[in-house]
Symmetry: C2
Subunit: 219 residues, 2 copies
DNA sequence: TAGATTGTTAATCGATTAACAATC
DNA sequence: TAGATTGTTAATCGATTAACAATC
């Protein structure tokens, strides 16, 4: 079992379910139906049930899903029930923000190493983590069982950093720099380039008052 | 024309095309075919042609697309050929990072106002921008013709900030806080919650060496 | 028992890709 | 003219949604 390939769309929804469930849990709600969850997330209940069913039977007919149990199951599926070590390259403002966030995170992904190529930054501390020079990346990643790399350097340096990570045997990369990263296909790259988000957001802005001969534009 | 509803998938790809074209332009490449572009972006050439064809006929048969012309056209489609004013709430590290990025951005989205509720931060300057108190948000957004809001506050405050923006008549929101934002449907919300990205990245990690009775796991 | 809700199959819908006439 | 490549239609593929038997 678990053999069928799970689509990316499904995987992208799992963290959303997890967030919603965590919130329900914090409000001491013990059980939730796919309908309630769907309402809250603007998703079709059938879709939620189907997504979950790819991984097992987690609900009870006539009742719904036990919140705590489902949280645990999704955490297993996403592999965040175990500790996952993460390295960050680029100790700028963005890097700092991520490190800080990390401190409060309730899941088990931990930034355990930070790198930068700026001599001014090397040796300084961010949340008890020493900023290390790039030279030490490969060694540290291997030794520290670091499986995910976060790239928060300027666009021109991103590919170089990615190459180092690949050399170190990284399994996944979260890339905040604009542009395409070229990596071997066994390395998963997730893009978090907010300029893209901002540009597509602009598309949905109301059309500016251009000379619009007749008023009947949209449906 | 331009009446057919464009799918979100298409809109999400336009910024990617734009990035690639900008890079081609910086390398002084004047013409590109859908095939070349597709290779570079790991996309099907037919898809690229079809995406562009929703908006007009931008290419030349037998030749390809003029890079400069296509950049201009996509910028028009995304409405980033005009200046778009943006407000940011949350002058933390993440907010700082975005303001800094803004400085170097080549497209016409400009952060023109920054807000925070921390008295320590109010009145300080970020890149020549005064950090304003939240009280002034509605007024400033209206007066300053600000159309997009960026939210970089902790999760618990995000909805409140969103409400203020809606009150001020914002058209789009880029939300970096985890969780779902409730807004009227005419306001577009784009999520940039990196915790989601990180969680889905974890899904694609190699399965840990769990007791795996028989070796034959994946196909 | 009656009502609720799951897991799952079948139907629908939409997005991607292939194919090709038009044409540079 | 021959080769390349667009714009677009038709075919394919995959994802979402509806429907319902099973069952709590």
């Amino acid at each position: 079992m678990k053999s069928a390939k799970i689509s990316e769309a499904v995987v992208r929804r799992l963290p959303i379910y997890l967030q919603a469930l965590n919130e329900l849990h914090s409000r001491e709600i013990g059980t939730v139906s796919s309908q309630e969850l769907g309402q809250r997330l603007d998703l079709n209940p059938a879709q939620i049930r189907k997504d979950l069913a790819y991984f097992g039977e987690f609900g009870r007919k006539g009742i719904g899903y036990d919140v705590i149990y489902l949280i645990e199951k999704i955490r297993q599926i996403l592999k965040v029930n175990q500790t996952i070590n993460v390295a960050l390259v680029g100790a700028g403002n963005l890097g700092l923000a991520l490190c800080n966030y990390n401190k409060y995170s309730k899941d088990n992904m931990k930034i355990t190493a930070v790198f930068d190529d700026n001599p001014q930054k090397i040796g300084t501390k961010i949340n008890n983590l020493l900023v290390q020079p790039m030279d030490e990346l490969v060694e540290t990643v291997k030794q520290g069982e670091i499986r995910i790399g976060i790239i928060t350097v300027p666009a021109v340096e991103a590919q170089n950093v990615a190459n180092r990570f690949v050399e170190a045997g990284i399994e996944g990369l979260l890339n905040f720099a604009p542009g395409i990263l070229r990596v071997p296909e066994e390395v998963r790259v997730q893009n978090a380039d907010f300029t893209r988000e901002l540009l597509s957001l602009a598309y949905y802005l109301n059309q500016d008052e251009e000379e619009d001969e007749d008023g009947s534009t949209l449906d």
